[in-house]
Symmetry: C2
Subunit: 116 residues, 2 copies
């Protein structure tokens, strides 16, 4: 049931919804049956199951049915890729900020009229 999106596309897509983020957060504390996962949400079970299917298709969770109980668990490593991408962007931003600061500091004592 994997989809054709890249892992990053899929992770960000899955997380672009408050219900799905709340489910991921809950599963980060440990696996849980669907019934327990659905309980906090003020929505019908079919709507809730749609969100679970998106999470499963995007690879963020897996589920297994034993007897009559389907239990979900999170695939935490899928979130790690998204976090790594974001921290790389922050590093690019930081490098730029550092360069700007160096530039200003280098020029300021010599040519104060250029800074404004």
């Amino acid at each position: 049931m994997e989809n054709l999106l890249s892992p990053l596309d899929a992770a960000f897509h899955a997380l672009a919804d408050p219900t799905r983020r709340a489910v991921v957060s809950r599963l980060m504390r440990g696996p849980a049956p669907v019934k327990e996962l659905a309980e906090p949400f003020d929505m019908g079970l079919p709507s809730f199951l749609k969100h679970l299917r998106v999470l499963e298709k995007d690879g963020l969770i897996s589920s297994e049915k034993i007897g009559r109980v389907r239990t979900c668990r999170v695939n935490a490593e899928k979130l790690a890729g998204a976090e790594t991408w974001l921290s790389e962007q922050r590093a690019l931003w930081q490098a730029r900020t550092d360069r700007l600061a160096d530039y200003v500091e280098t020029r300021m004592p010599m040519e104060p009229e250029d800074v404004g």
Copy 2:
């Protein structure tokens, strides 16, 4: 042109596409005109502009037109919220892993037959 999504919904939605992520990455190095941003992509300008509009609507970039040139810049703080959320999830996961490890370590010397 802000949309009605929450900041986290909007950030994750905007990042769920490789072209939009590449634009964000480029802008993390500094502002750039639309024409320069579009150059690396093998797609028509109208399709590319759609991606820019999604990024702007989701609050990840801003743009300003001076004369005939529209220049884009990234709103880096919008990505910070998404990164914070992901690092909180990692902390939940880590806490759980630590609890499991403690549990196993505490029980192992006493009741080896329970571990398997």
